[in-house]
Protein backbone atom coordinates (compact mmCIF):
# COMPACT_ATOMS: atom_id res chain seq x y z
CA UNK A 1 0.00 0.00 0.00
CA UNK A 2 3.05 2.26 0.27
CA UNK A 3 2.66 3.18 -3.38
CA UNK A 4 -0.94 4.27 -2.90
CA UNK A 5 0.00 7.13 -0.59
CA UNK A 6 2.56 8.38 -3.12
CA UNK A 7 0.06 8.63 -5.95
CA UNK A 8 -0.79 12.04 -7.31
CA UNK A 9 -4.35 13.30 -7.21
CA UNK A 10 -4.67 12.66 -10.95
CA UNK A 11 -3.46 9.06 -10.57
CA UNK A 12 -5.71 8.35 -7.60
CA UNK A 13 -8.80 9.80 -9.28
CA UNK A 14 -8.12 7.77 -12.45
CA UNK A 15 -7.65 4.56 -10.46
CA UNK A 16 -10.77 5.07 -8.35
CA UNK A 17 -12.91 6.11 -11.31
CA UNK A 18 -11.83 3.03 -13.28
CA UNK A 19 -12.39 0.73 -10.33
CA UNK A 20 -8.81 -0.51 -9.98
CA UNK A 21 -8.70 1.02 -6.50
CA UNK A 22 -11.51 1.93 -4.15
CA UNK A 23 -11.66 5.20 -2.25
CA UNK A 24 -11.89 3.10 0.91
CA UNK A 25 -8.58 1.38 0.12
CA UNK A 26 -6.88 4.70 -0.59
CA UNK A 27 -8.28 6.18 2.60
CA UNK A 28 -7.27 3.26 4.80
CA UNK A 29 -3.73 3.33 3.38
CA UNK A 30 -3.52 7.07 3.87
CA UNK A 31 -4.80 7.01 7.46
CA UNK A 32 -2.31 4.26 8.33
CA UNK A 33 0.51 6.30 6.80
CA UNK A 34 -0.58 9.44 8.69
CA UNK A 35 -0.66 7.48 11.94
CA UNK A 36 2.85 6.18 11.19
CA UNK A 37 4.57 9.47 10.35
CA UNK A 38 2.57 12.41 11.65
CA UNK A 39 3.82 12.22 15.22
CA UNK A 40 7.15 13.30 13.71
CA UNK A 41 5.82 15.77 11.13
CA UNK A 42 2.90 17.32 13.00
CA UNK A 43 1.01 18.31 9.87
CA UNK A 44 -2.42 17.68 11.38
CA UNK A 45 -4.08 19.19 14.42
CA UNK A 46 -7.04 16.84 14.02
CA UNK A 47 -7.10 13.52 12.18
CA UNK A 48 -10.49 12.66 10.74
CA UNK A 49 -10.43 8.84 10.66
CA UNK A 50 -14.17 8.33 10.93
CA UNK A 51 -15.23 11.17 8.65
CA UNK A 52 -12.65 10.19 6.01
CA UNK A 53 -13.97 6.61 5.93
CA UNK A 54 -17.51 7.90 5.71
CA UNK A 55 -16.67 10.09 2.71
CA UNK A 56 -14.71 7.25 1.09
CA UNK A 57 -17.78 5.05 1.34
CA UNK A 58 -19.91 7.75 -0.29
CA UNK A 59 -17.39 8.21 -3.11
CA UNK A 60 -17.26 4.48 -3.78
CA UNK A 61 -21.05 4.39 -3.94
CA UNK A 62 -21.11 7.30 -6.38
CA UNK A 63 -18.45 5.70 -8.59
CA UNK A 64 -20.33 2.39 -8.54
CA UNK A 65 -23.39 4.35 -9.59
CA UNK A 66 -21.56 5.41 -12.74
CA UNK A 67 -20.31 8.87 -11.76
CA UNK A 68 -16.87 10.06 -12.83
CA UNK A 69 -15.46 12.37 -10.14
CA UNK A 70 -12.51 14.66 -10.88
CA UNK A 71 -11.04 14.03 -7.42
CA UNK A 72 -12.43 10.55 -6.73
CA UNK A 73 -10.86 9.25 -3.54
CA UNK A 74 -8.15 11.93 -3.42
CA UNK A 75 -6.89 12.49 0.15
CA UNK A 76 -6.99 16.13 1.16
CA UNK A 77 -5.52 18.10 4.07
CA UNK A 78 -7.76 21.02 5.05
CA UNK A 79 -6.10 24.06 6.60
CA UNK A 80 -7.60 24.63 10.02
CA UNK A 81 -9.03 28.04 9.14
CA UNK A 82 -11.59 26.35 6.86
CA UNK A 83 -14.91 25.23 8.23
CA UNK A 84 -15.99 21.62 7.82
CA UNK A 85 -19.21 20.70 9.59
CA UNK A 86 -18.70 18.82 12.82
CA UNK A 87 -14.92 19.16 12.87
CA UNK A 88 -12.81 21.18 15.28
CA UNK A 89 -11.74 24.33 13.44
CA UNK A 90 -9.16 26.31 15.39
CA UNK A 91 -7.30 28.67 13.03
CA UNK A 92 -4.29 27.59 15.10
CA UNK A 93 -5.53 29.70 18.01
CA UNK A 94 -6.32 29.08 21.66
CA UNK A 95 -9.35 31.31 21.27
CA UNK A 96 -10.93 28.67 18.99
CA UNK A 97 -9.21 25.62 20.45
CA UNK A 98 -12.45 23.73 21.05
CA UNK A 99 -14.71 25.29 18.42
CA UNK A 100 -16.67 22.87 16.23
CA UNK A 101 -17.64 24.30 12.83
CA UNK A 102 -21.43 24.29 12.39
CA UNK A 103 -21.21 24.58 8.59
CA UNK A 104 -18.90 23.77 5.67
CA UNK A 105 -17.12 26.44 3.63
CA UNK A 106 -17.75 26.59 -0.09
CA UNK A 107 -14.24 25.66 -1.27
CA UNK A 108 -14.13 22.65 1.05
CA UNK A 109 -17.63 21.59 0.01
CA UNK A 110 -16.69 21.77 -3.67
CA UNK A 111 -13.63 19.59 -3.08
CA UNK A 112 -15.80 17.03 -1.28
CA UNK A 113 -18.40 17.16 -4.03
CA UNK A 114 -15.61 16.42 -6.51
CA UNK A 115 -14.81 13.23 -4.60
CA UNK A 116 -11.99 14.36 -2.28
CA UNK A 117 -11.55 12.69 1.12
CA UNK A 118 -10.85 14.92 4.15
CA UNK A 119 -7.96 13.25 6.01
CA UNK A 120 -7.47 15.90 8.65
CA UNK A 121 -7.38 19.54 9.66
CA UNK A 122 -3.91 20.96 9.13
CA UNK A 123 -1.82 23.12 11.44
CA UNK A 124 -1.15 26.76 10.61
CA UNK A 125 0.23 29.99 12.00
CA UNK A 126 -2.42 31.47 14.29
CA UNK A 127 -5.08 33.14 12.12
CA UNK A 128 -2.70 32.66 9.16
CA UNK A 129 -0.27 35.26 10.51
CA UNK A 130 3.24 33.99 10.01
CA UNK A 131 5.70 32.47 7.57
CA UNK A 132 6.97 29.45 9.50
CA UNK A 133 3.99 27.83 11.24
CA UNK A 134 5.77 28.61 14.53
CA UNK A 135 2.95 30.97 15.48
CA UNK A 136 0.50 28.10 15.89
CA UNK A 137 -0.71 28.03 19.48
CA UNK A 138 -1.65 24.37 19.18
CA UNK A 139 1.23 22.39 17.73
CA UNK A 140 4.61 22.21 16.02
CA UNK A 141 4.87 21.28 12.34
CA UNK A 142 8.23 20.19 10.97
CA UNK A 143 9.61 20.35 7.45
CA UNK A 144 9.47 16.80 6.01
CA UNK A 145 12.75 17.49 4.15
CA UNK A 146 14.60 18.34 7.39
CA UNK A 147 12.79 17.91 10.67
CA UNK A 148 14.98 20.54 12.32
CA UNK A 149 13.54 23.19 9.99
CA UNK A 150 10.20 24.96 9.66
CA UNK A 151 7.77 24.02 6.88
CA UNK A 152 7.01 27.67 6.12
CA UNK A 153 3.69 29.30 6.70
CA UNK A 154 1.10 30.11 7.27
CA UNK A 155 -0.19 27.00 5.45
CA UNK A 156 2.56 24.93 7.12
CA UNK A 157 0.45 21.91 8.05
CA UNK A 158 -1.16 21.61 4.62
CA UNK A 159 2.19 21.76 2.86
CA UNK A 160 3.90 19.35 5.27
CA UNK A 161 1.05 16.88 4.76
CA UNK A 162 1.55 16.98 0.99
CA UNK A 163 5.35 16.77 1.19
CA UNK A 164 5.22 13.78 3.58
CA UNK A 165 2.61 12.00 1.40
CA UNK A 166 -0.02 12.46 4.11
CA UNK A 167 -2.36 13.96 1.48
CA UNK A 168 -2.26 14.52 -2.26
CA UNK A 169 -3.76 17.97 -2.02
CA UNK A 170 -3.39 20.50 0.75
CA UNK A 171 -5.94 23.27 0.92
CA UNK A 172 -4.16 26.47 1.86
CA UNK A 173 -4.94 30.15 2.10
CA UNK A 174 -2.62 32.92 0.94
CA UNK A 175 -2.79 36.52 2.12
CA UNK A 176 0.77 37.70 1.47
CA UNK A 177 2.50 34.45 0.50
CA UNK A 178 1.06 31.82 2.84
CA UNK A 179 0.68 29.23 0.07
CA UNK A 180 3.69 30.10 -2.09
CA UNK A 181 6.40 30.40 0.57
CA UNK A 182 5.64 27.08 2.32
CA UNK A 183 5.38 25.42 -1.11
CA UNK A 184 8.93 26.61 -1.86
CA UNK A 185 10.17 25.36 1.53
CA UNK A 186 8.74 21.86 1.09
CA UNK A 187 9.38 20.99 -2.57
CA UNK A 188 5.75 21.34 -3.60
CA UNK A 189 3.64 23.40 -5.96
CA UNK A 190 1.61 26.14 -4.27
CA UNK A 191 -0.95 28.09 -6.25
CA UNK A 192 -2.79 31.28 -5.29
CA UNK A 193 -5.49 32.04 -7.86
CA UNK A 194 -6.65 35.57 -8.74
CA UNK A 195 -8.27 37.29 -5.77
CA UNK A 196 -11.96 36.33 -5.81
CA UNK A 197 -11.61 33.19 -7.93
CA UNK A 198 -12.28 30.95 -4.93
CA UNK A 199 -15.06 31.73 -2.49
CA UNK A 200 -13.96 32.76 0.99
CA UNK A 201 -17.23 31.62 2.57
CA UNK A 202 -16.25 29.44 5.52
CA UNK A 203 -12.66 30.70 5.59
CA UNK A 204 -11.88 32.35 8.92
CA UNK A 205 -10.96 35.88 7.83
CA UNK A 206 -7.53 37.46 8.28
CA UNK A 207 -7.36 40.31 5.72
CA UNK A 208 -10.44 40.13 3.55
CA UNK A 209 -9.17 42.14 0.58
CA UNK A 210 -6.14 39.82 0.25
CA UNK A 211 -7.18 36.36 1.51
CA UNK A 212 -7.43 33.73 -1.18
CA UNK A 213 -7.79 29.94 -0.98
CA UNK A 214 -5.67 27.72 -3.21
CA UNK A 215 -4.05 24.28 -3.47
CA UNK A 216 -0.68 22.82 -2.44
CA UNK A 217 0.24 19.71 -4.42
CA UNK A 218 3.21 17.68 -5.60
CA UNK A 219 2.51 18.39 -9.29
CA UNK A 220 1.23 21.32 -11.32
CA UNK A 221 -1.41 19.06 -12.87
CA UNK A 222 -2.83 18.34 -9.41
CA UNK A 223 -2.98 22.07 -8.65
CA UNK A 224 -4.92 22.57 -11.87
CA UNK A 225 -7.38 19.80 -10.92
CA UNK A 226 -7.86 21.19 -7.41
CA UNK A 227 -8.30 24.71 -8.77
CA UNK A 228 -11.00 23.56 -11.19
CA UNK A 229 -12.82 21.85 -8.35
CA UNK A 230 -12.75 24.75 -5.87
CA UNK A 231 -12.96 27.87 -8.05
CA UNK A 232 -16.04 29.73 -9.25
CA UNK A 233 -18.66 32.23 -8.25
CA UNK A 234 -20.52 31.69 -5.00
CA UNK A 235 -23.58 33.54 -3.83
CA UNK A 236 -22.28 33.33 -0.27
CA UNK A 237 -19.22 35.50 -1.10
CA UNK A 238 -20.10 38.75 -2.85
CA UNK A 239 -16.40 39.33 -3.68
CA UNK A 240 -16.19 36.05 -5.59
CA UNK A 241 -15.76 36.56 -9.32
CA UNK A 242 -18.68 35.86 -11.62
CA UNK A 243 -16.71 34.56 -14.60
CA UNK A 244 -16.42 31.09 -16.06
CA UNK A 245 -13.47 29.04 -14.76
CA UNK A 246 -11.53 27.90 -17.81
CA UNK A 247 -10.19 24.36 -17.68
CA UNK A 248 -6.52 24.44 -16.80
CA UNK A 249 -5.76 20.72 -16.53
CA UNK A 250 -6.25 20.18 -20.25
CA UNK A 251 -4.17 23.24 -21.24
CA UNK A 252 -0.88 22.17 -19.66
CA UNK A 253 2.03 22.92 -21.94
CA UNK A 254 5.16 21.04 -22.90
CA UNK A 255 7.29 24.08 -23.65
CA UNK A 256 7.39 27.84 -23.23
CA UNK A 257 7.66 28.80 -26.90
CA UNK A 258 6.22 32.19 -27.68
CA UNK A 259 5.99 33.24 -24.02
CA UNK A 260 7.67 36.41 -22.82
CA UNK A 261 8.76 36.03 -19.20
CA UNK A 262 9.46 39.23 -17.29
CA UNK A 263 12.35 39.42 -14.84
CA UNK A 264 11.80 42.29 -12.41
CA UNK A 265 14.76 44.66 -12.44
CA UNK A 266 14.17 45.67 -8.80
CA UNK A 267 14.11 42.04 -7.58
CA UNK A 268 17.87 41.88 -7.17
CA UNK A 269 18.82 38.31 -6.26
CA UNK A 270 22.46 39.17 -5.48
CA UNK A 271 21.39 40.30 -2.04
CA UNK A 272 20.18 36.77 -1.27
CA UNK A 273 23.76 35.47 -1.38
CA UNK A 274 25.95 34.12 -4.17
CA UNK A 275 24.56 30.60 -4.11
CA UNK A 276 20.90 31.62 -4.24
CA UNK A 277 21.67 34.24 -6.88
CA UNK A 278 23.36 31.62 -9.04
CA UNK A 279 20.43 29.25 -8.59
CA UNK A 280 17.91 31.80 -9.85
CA UNK A 281 20.14 32.82 -12.77
CA UNK A 282 20.16 29.14 -13.68
CA UNK A 283 16.37 28.98 -13.25
CA UNK A 284 15.82 31.90 -15.63
CA UNK A 285 18.18 30.22 -18.09
CA UNK A 286 16.04 27.07 -17.89
CA UNK A 287 12.98 29.12 -18.79
CA UNK A 288 14.86 30.39 -21.81
CA UNK A 289 15.98 26.89 -22.77
CA UNK A 290 12.35 25.82 -22.76
CA UNK A 291 11.53 28.46 -25.36
CA UNK A 292 10.65 31.54 -23.33
CA UNK A 293 11.96 34.98 -24.20
CA UNK A 294 13.25 36.80 -21.13
CA UNK A 295 12.50 40.51 -20.87
CA UNK A 296 13.41 42.95 -18.14
CA UNK A 297 10.42 44.66 -16.51
CA UNK A 298 10.20 47.41 -13.93
CA UNK A 299 8.41 47.28 -10.60
CA UNK A 300 9.46 50.64 -9.15
CA UNK A 301 7.36 50.07 -6.02
CA UNK A 302 8.97 46.70 -5.22
CA UNK A 303 10.70 47.89 -2.07
CA UNK A 304 7.48 49.36 -0.68
CA UNK A 305 5.55 46.08 -0.69
CA UNK A 306 6.23 45.05 2.88
CA UNK A 307 5.37 48.50 4.24
CA UNK A 308 2.13 48.61 2.28
CA UNK A 309 1.17 45.10 3.28
CA UNK A 310 2.02 45.55 6.96
CA UNK A 311 -0.45 48.41 7.17
CA UNK A 312 -3.31 47.02 5.10
CA UNK A 313 -3.30 43.44 6.38
CA UNK A 314 -3.11 44.35 10.10
CA UNK A 315 -5.76 47.06 9.64
CA UNK A 316 -8.13 44.52 8.16
CA UNK A 317 -7.24 41.89 10.75
CA UNK A 318 -7.86 44.28 13.64
CA UNK A 319 -11.37 44.70 12.30
CA UNK A 320 -11.98 41.03 11.40
CA UNK A 321 -10.72 39.69 14.73
CA UNK A 322 -12.98 42.01 16.72
CA UNK A 323 -15.57 39.21 16.55
CA UNK A 324 -13.54 37.12 18.98
CA UNK A 325 -14.90 38.64 22.16
CA UNK A 326 -15.98 35.68 24.27
CA UNK A 327 -19.70 36.25 23.73
CA UNK A 328 -21.01 33.75 21.19
CA UNK A 329 -18.29 31.13 20.70
CA UNK A 330 -14.75 30.26 21.56
CA UNK A 331 -12.85 31.06 24.71
CA UNK A 332 -14.28 33.27 27.44
CA UNK A 333 -12.28 34.51 30.43
CA UNK A 334 -14.41 36.19 33.07
CA UNK A 335 -13.17 39.53 34.31
CA UNK A 336 -15.98 41.33 36.12
CA UNK A 337 -17.93 43.57 33.76
CA UNK A 338 -18.36 42.92 30.07
CA UNK A 339 -15.44 45.17 29.01
CA UNK A 340 -13.06 43.41 31.36
CA UNK A 341 -14.34 40.08 30.01
CA UNK A 342 -13.47 41.15 26.44
CA UNK A 343 -10.00 42.27 27.46
CA UNK A 344 -9.23 39.18 29.52
CA UNK A 345 -10.58 36.83 26.84
CA UNK A 346 -8.51 38.40 24.06
CA UNK A 347 -5.41 38.62 26.28
CA UNK A 348 -5.59 34.90 27.02
CA UNK A 349 -6.85 33.75 23.62
CA UNK A 350 -4.49 35.48 21.19
CA UNK A 351 -0.78 34.78 20.78
CA UNK A 352 1.91 37.48 20.52
CA UNK A 353 1.97 37.82 16.72
CA UNK A 354 -1.81 38.19 16.52
CA UNK A 355 -1.71 40.80 19.29
CA UNK A 356 1.05 42.71 17.50
CA UNK A 357 -0.91 42.81 14.27
CA UNK A 358 -4.16 43.81 15.94
CA UNK A 359 -2.30 46.60 17.73
CA UNK A 360 -0.55 47.94 14.64
CA UNK A 361 -3.79 47.72 12.67
CA UNK A 362 -5.78 49.47 15.36
CA UNK A 363 -3.12 52.17 15.45
CA UNK A 364 -3.13 52.61 11.66
CA UNK A 365 -6.91 53.01 11.70
CA UNK A 366 -7.10 55.24 14.76
CA UNK A 367 -8.05 58.88 14.71
CA UNK A 368 -5.18 61.09 13.59
CA UNK A 369 -3.25 58.30 11.87
CA UNK A 370 -5.81 56.96 9.40
CA UNK A 371 -4.75 59.17 6.46
CA UNK A 372 -1.05 58.97 7.18
CA UNK A 373 -0.97 55.19 7.36
CA UNK A 374 -4.03 53.35 6.10
CA UNK A 375 -5.01 55.65 3.23
CA UNK A 376 -1.38 56.10 2.26
CA UNK A 377 -1.01 52.32 2.03
CA UNK A 378 -4.14 52.02 -0.08
CA UNK A 379 -2.71 54.57 -2.48
CA UNK A 380 0.54 52.65 -2.63
CA UNK A 381 -1.55 49.62 -3.43
CA UNK A 382 -2.94 51.39 -6.48
CA UNK A 383 0.64 52.01 -7.60
CA UNK A 384 1.37 48.27 -7.37
CA UNK A 385 -1.64 47.46 -9.53
CA UNK A 386 -0.59 50.10 -12.09
CA UNK A 387 3.05 48.96 -12.11
CA UNK A 388 2.02 45.40 -12.84
CA UNK A 389 -0.37 46.52 -15.57
CA UNK A 390 2.50 48.36 -17.22
CA UNK A 391 4.89 45.41 -16.79
CA UNK A 392 2.43 43.01 -18.40
CA UNK A 393 2.32 45.18 -21.52
CA UNK A 394 5.70 43.70 -22.43
CA UNK A 395 5.52 40.22 -20.91
CA UNK A 396 3.08 37.33 -20.38
CA UNK A 397 4.35 36.11 -17.02
CA UNK A 398 6.69 37.39 -14.34
CA UNK A 399 9.34 35.13 -12.78
CA UNK A 400 11.02 35.65 -9.42
CA UNK A 401 12.13 33.79 -6.30
CA UNK A 402 9.20 32.54 -4.19
CA UNK A 403 10.97 33.12 -0.88
CA UNK A 404 14.12 34.90 0.28
CA UNK A 405 15.88 31.75 1.51
CA UNK A 406 15.44 28.01 1.90
CA UNK A 407 13.57 26.76 4.98
CA UNK A 408 15.25 27.99 8.17
CA UNK A 409 15.61 26.34 11.56
CA UNK A 410 13.16 26.75 14.41
CA UNK A 411 13.54 29.99 16.38
CA UNK A 412 15.84 31.46 13.73
CA UNK A 413 13.73 34.59 13.20
CA UNK A 414 13.20 36.17 16.59
CA UNK A 415 12.72 39.68 15.20
CA UNK A 416 9.23 39.96 13.65
CA UNK A 417 10.47 42.05 10.72
CA UNK A 418 13.06 39.47 9.67
CA UNK A 419 10.21 36.97 9.44
CA UNK A 420 8.16 39.40 7.36
CA UNK A 421 11.07 39.66 4.89
CA UNK A 422 10.45 36.04 3.82
CA UNK A 423 7.46 37.29 1.83
CA UNK A 424 9.26 40.11 0.01
CA UNK A 425 8.65 38.52 -3.40
CA UNK A 426 5.11 37.26 -2.86
CA UNK A 427 3.48 40.33 -1.29
CA UNK A 428 3.47 42.57 -4.41
CA UNK A 429 1.38 40.00 -6.33
CA UNK A 430 -1.04 39.75 -3.41
CA UNK A 431 -1.48 43.51 -3.27
CA UNK A 432 -2.37 43.50 -6.97
CA UNK A 433 -4.64 40.44 -6.65
CA UNK A 434 -2.66 38.52 -9.28
CA UNK A 435 -2.64 34.76 -9.72
CA UNK A 436 0.78 33.40 -8.75
CA UNK A 437 2.36 30.09 -7.88
CA UNK A 438 5.56 28.53 -6.65
CA UNK A 439 7.10 25.55 -8.43
CA UNK A 440 10.26 23.67 -7.33
CA UNK A 441 13.37 25.05 -9.08
CA UNK A 442 16.40 23.50 -7.39
CA UNK A 443 18.19 22.68 -4.16
CA UNK A 444 20.55 24.48 -1.82
CA UNK A 445 22.31 23.20 1.26
CA UNK A 446 21.89 26.02 3.77
CA UNK A 447 24.82 27.21 5.83
CA UNK A 448 25.18 24.91 8.82
CA UNK A 449 22.76 22.40 7.24
CA UNK A 450 23.70 18.88 6.25
CA UNK A 451 21.13 18.19 3.55
CA UNK A 452 19.88 19.99 0.45
CA UNK A 453 16.68 22.01 0.84
CA UNK A 454 14.27 22.89 -1.96
CA UNK A 455 13.83 26.34 -3.51
CA UNK A 456 10.83 27.70 -5.40
CA UNK A 457 10.33 29.71 -8.57
CA UNK A 458 7.42 32.14 -8.38
CA UNK A 459 5.49 32.72 -11.59
CA UNK A 460 2.79 35.40 -11.72
CA UNK A 461 0.27 36.22 -14.43
CA UNK A 462 -2.18 39.03 -15.16
CA UNK A 463 -5.59 38.86 -13.48
CA UNK A 464 -7.66 35.82 -14.53
CA UNK A 465 -4.80 34.25 -16.53
CA UNK A 466 -4.67 31.08 -14.43
CA UNK A 467 -4.66 28.81 -17.49
CA UNK A 468 -1.60 30.49 -18.96
CA UNK A 469 0.13 30.41 -15.57
CA UNK A 470 -0.50 26.74 -14.82
CA UNK A 471 0.30 25.78 -18.40
CA UNK A 472 3.72 27.42 -18.23
CA UNK A 473 4.46 26.08 -14.75
CA UNK A 474 3.76 22.58 -16.01
CA UNK A 475 6.21 23.04 -18.89
CA UNK A 476 8.88 24.22 -16.43
CA UNK A 477 8.19 21.35 -14.01
CA UNK A 478 8.29 18.68 -16.73
CA UNK A 479 11.28 20.25 -18.46
CA UNK A 480 13.42 20.39 -15.31
CA UNK A 481 12.11 17.74 -12.89
CA UNK A 482 13.77 19.40 -9.90
CA UNK A 483 11.22 18.06 -7.42
CA UNK A 484 12.10 14.41 -7.92
CA UNK A 485 15.81 14.85 -7.18
CA UNK A 486 15.45 14.20 -3.43
CA UNK A 487 12.77 12.58 -1.33
CA UNK A 488 11.43 13.79 1.98
CA UNK A 489 13.61 12.86 4.95
CA UNK A 490 10.65 11.58 6.90
CA UNK A 491 9.83 8.88 4.34
CA UNK A 492 13.22 8.12 2.75
CA UNK A 493 15.04 6.83 5.86
Amino acid sequence: MADVVRMTAAETAAAVNSGTLSAAEVTDAMLAHVDAVDDRVGAYLTRLHELAREYAKRVDERVRGGEKLPLAGVPVAVKDNMCLTGTRTTAGSKILENWIAPYTGTAVQRMLDAGAIPIGKANMDEFAMGSSCENSALGITRNPYDLTRVPGGSSGGSVAAVAAYEAAIGMGSDTGGSIREPAAFCNTVGFKPTYGRVSRYGLIAFASSLDQIGPLTRTVEDSALAYEAMAGWDRMDSTSIDRPVEKASTALRGDLKGLRVGIVKQFVTEKLGAEIHALYQQTYKELENLGATLVEVELPTADYGLATYYLIAPAECSSNLARFDGVRYGLRVEGGDVGAMYEATRAAGFGPEVKRRILIGTYALSSGYYDAYYVKAQKARTMFANDFKRAFETCDLIASPAASSPAFQFNAKSDPYSMYMMDYYTIPMSLAGLPALSVPCGWITPEGGDRPMPMGLQLAAPLFEEVKLLGAAHAYEQGTKHASKYDAMVVSA
Partner: protein, 98 residues
Protein backbone atom coordinates in the same frame (compact mmCIF):
# COMPACT_ATOMS: atom_id res chain seq x y z
CA UNK B 1 4.03 60.48 8.72
CA UNK B 2 5.37 60.76 12.19
CA UNK B 3 7.95 58.62 13.89
CA UNK B 4 6.51 59.17 17.34
CA UNK B 5 6.20 56.32 19.78
CA UNK B 6 2.99 54.33 19.85
CA UNK B 7 1.02 54.68 23.06
CA UNK B 8 0.63 50.90 23.33
CA UNK B 9 -1.63 51.04 26.39
CA UNK B 10 -4.06 53.37 24.64
CA UNK B 11 -4.12 51.32 21.43
CA UNK B 12 -4.60 48.11 23.43
CA UNK B 13 -7.57 49.72 25.14
CA UNK B 14 -9.07 50.51 21.72
CA UNK B 15 -8.41 46.92 20.62
CA UNK B 16 -9.82 45.48 23.86
CA UNK B 17 -6.74 43.47 24.75
CA UNK B 18 -5.39 43.48 28.31
CA UNK B 19 -1.58 43.70 28.25
CA UNK B 20 0.96 42.98 30.98
CA UNK B 21 3.67 45.55 31.71
CA UNK B 22 6.15 43.24 30.05
CA UNK B 23 4.01 43.10 26.88
CA UNK B 24 3.64 46.89 26.83
CA UNK B 25 7.41 47.17 26.89
CA UNK B 26 8.08 44.44 24.30
CA UNK B 27 5.28 45.31 21.86
CA UNK B 28 6.13 49.01 22.18
CA UNK B 29 9.68 48.35 20.97
CA UNK B 30 8.62 45.93 18.23
CA UNK B 31 5.84 48.14 16.92
CA UNK B 32 8.11 51.19 17.00
CA UNK B 33 10.58 49.24 14.88
CA UNK B 34 7.84 48.20 12.44
CA UNK B 35 6.61 51.79 12.17
CA UNK B 36 10.08 52.90 11.18
CA UNK B 37 9.97 50.35 8.37
CA UNK B 38 6.51 51.37 7.15
CA UNK B 39 7.47 55.03 7.24
CA UNK B 40 9.36 54.47 3.96
CA UNK B 41 5.95 54.90 2.33
CA UNK B 42 6.28 58.65 2.87
CA UNK B 43 8.87 58.57 0.05
CA UNK B 44 6.13 57.65 -2.44
CA UNK B 45 4.46 60.55 -4.19
CA UNK B 46 0.80 59.58 -3.98
CA UNK B 47 -0.68 63.07 -4.41
CA UNK B 48 -2.49 62.15 -7.62
CA UNK B 49 -3.06 58.46 -6.85
CA UNK B 50 -6.51 57.22 -5.82
CA UNK B 51 -6.77 54.75 -2.95
CA UNK B 52 -7.54 51.13 -3.82
CA UNK B 53 -9.58 48.91 -1.55
CA UNK B 54 -10.60 46.30 -4.11
CA UNK B 55 -8.09 45.41 -6.81
CA UNK B 56 -9.95 43.05 -9.06
CA UNK B 57 -13.43 44.06 -10.15
CA UNK B 58 -15.33 46.90 -8.62
CA UNK B 59 -19.02 46.50 -9.15
CA UNK B 60 -22.17 46.67 -7.15
CA UNK B 61 -23.36 43.23 -6.11
CA UNK B 62 -27.05 42.63 -5.83
CA UNK B 63 -29.06 39.49 -5.44
CA UNK B 64 -32.61 38.38 -4.85
CA UNK B 65 -33.62 38.62 -1.22
CA UNK B 66 -34.50 34.97 -0.77
CA UNK B 67 -35.03 33.01 2.40
CA UNK B 68 -33.04 29.84 2.89
CA UNK B 69 -32.01 27.45 5.62
CA UNK B 70 -29.93 29.01 8.39
CA UNK B 71 -27.85 27.44 11.13
CA UNK B 72 -29.71 25.36 13.68
CA UNK B 73 -30.16 27.42 16.85
CA UNK B 74 -29.32 24.57 19.20
CA UNK B 75 -26.08 23.84 17.32
CA UNK B 76 -25.02 27.46 17.52
CA UNK B 77 -25.95 27.89 21.17
CA UNK B 78 -24.16 24.68 22.09
CA UNK B 79 -20.92 26.52 21.27
CA UNK B 80 -21.69 29.50 23.50
CA UNK B 81 -19.33 30.02 26.43
CA UNK B 82 -22.41 30.62 28.56
CA UNK B 83 -26.07 30.41 27.68
CA UNK B 84 -29.39 30.87 29.33
CA UNK B 85 -32.23 29.17 27.49
CA UNK B 86 -32.27 30.49 23.92
CA UNK B 87 -29.88 33.38 24.76
CA UNK B 88 -26.15 34.01 24.97
CA UNK B 89 -25.37 34.97 28.56
CA UNK B 90 -22.91 37.82 29.12
CA UNK B 91 -21.73 39.72 32.18
CA UNK B 92 -23.81 42.71 33.26
CA UNK B 93 -23.45 45.59 30.78
CA UNK B 94 -25.45 48.33 32.53
CA UNK B 95 -24.51 49.02 36.14
CA UNK B 96 -27.13 48.47 38.84
CA UNK B 97 -28.74 51.65 40.11
CA UNK B 98 -28.00 53.03 43.54
Amino acid sequence: MSSEKIDVRYVAKLARIALTDEEVERFGAQLGNLLEHVNVLSELDTASVPATAQVVESRNVEREDLTGPSLDRETVLSMAPQRQGPFFRVPRIIAEEG
